[in-house]
Point group: C2
Chain length 193, copies 2
DNA sequence: TTCACTTCTTGCCATTTGGCAAGCATTCCA
DNA sequence: TGGAATGCTTGCCAAATGGCAAGAAGTGAA
């Protein structure tokens, strides 16, 4: 499979020459993930970062009452992994499962460490990627503080409409911080408008 | 003023030799910040990262309705700055203000870039610091999704009791994602227990 | 095809939180 | 020191959300 999208993904985060971007892209390995397969389960160290070529994955944890709580959705041109577990090489509390068949490009922790060392531009790419992820997480936390559930739902419609067609309602509800009953009602109200 | 705490702060994030830690600490410059002074105002690029030796600061934004929303509290042995604005050198939407007189160690963006380049251990320290901040933010977002306002309040009592004595109730309330009236009631209920 | 399972909706009611305003105490200045 | 501003509490009621359960519709597997 062509690494065109992967190269574009890299250059989108850190604008560098095609040749440098290709050199980085070469470190990634293709992988097919069948629907419902896990790329990470809780209690394990996250060993690889997956850049998604196609398909959707879902990250979730089990809360103290055993409820499945969706932490994040991963779609095309995002990286699916537990950042904290991966970079600190500690056990993850998170599960990441394919919602659909997926094609990804992955890189192991070891390869990433070596590549950080060998390719300064990759180091910078990695740093910017981290910062972008931090910024996105902060945005999301602010929306949890400031916005109503309905506003968060509308944001999700606008930013990631496909996921609403793919993930079951209860997953979307827990991602938004509400119950599936409430989301069902919000959706009904929103449809009226 | 002695850089003992600063050196310990560095080694706590990334265990390295005293001499390396001191070499990094040397890049930080002392600064006194009087109560109510701002170290960052919205619309400006965050130009420095402040490691707090003593005192408390508060980060906040104004939401669409002009309400003051507290994003974070900064206390001893944390860094006060807008990570995204600082590392990407873009305008911040955030304000950071001293809640009390503060003593800090700061480093400018330029010095940090030079030091990243010159000291590989500092680079690694910076990366770990970013990852720790990411992890803390993720924890906080999860608590917004999973926990009740009262649980979040109790968490704050346990993790940062001093801030409850220093920051006004409405700041703490918006930090927890609720109104000051609600927090006042939650506090009353909690006191009964 | 059938049967179990999942998904989604909805009704009922409880709980949590918000919005607003009044009242009181404290603090901060001029 | 007087007056304004700020901070906190509380009463009243509305709005948002949760918990639970029932039922309809869709899905998947033997």
């Amino acid at each position: 499979m062509s690494k065109t999208n992967l190269v574009r993904f890299i250059q989108n985060i850190f604008p560098i020459s095609d040749s440098k971007a290709k050199q980085i892209a070469d470190k990634y390995v293709q992988k097919s993930i069948p629907k419902n397969d896990f790329i990470l389960t809780e209690g394990h160290i996250c060993s690889a970062s997956h850049v998604i070529e196609s398909g959707f994955l879902r990250g979730f944890i089990y809360d103290v009452d055993g409820n499945d709580v969706t932490i994040s959705f991963y779609s095309k041109d995002t990286s699916a992994y537990d950042i904290f577990s991966f970079f600190k090489q500690v056990r993850s509390t998170e599960n990441i499962q394919a919602l659909t068949d997926c094609e990804t490009w992955y890189m192991s922790y070891e390869t990433m460490q070596e590549s950080f060392h060998a390719i300064p531009e990759f180091r910078e790419f990695g740093r910017l990627n981290l910062i972008n992820n931090y910024g996105a997480l902060k945005e999301r936390m602010l929306s949890m503080i400031q916005e109503t559930a309905e506003q968060r739902y509308v944001n999700l419609i606008n930013s990631n409409p496909e996921i609403l067609q793919i993930a079951p309602l209860k997953n979307i509800a827990s991602y938004l911080g509400i119950t599936d009953s409430s989301l069902s009602r919000i959706r009904k109200e929103f449809a009226k408008k």
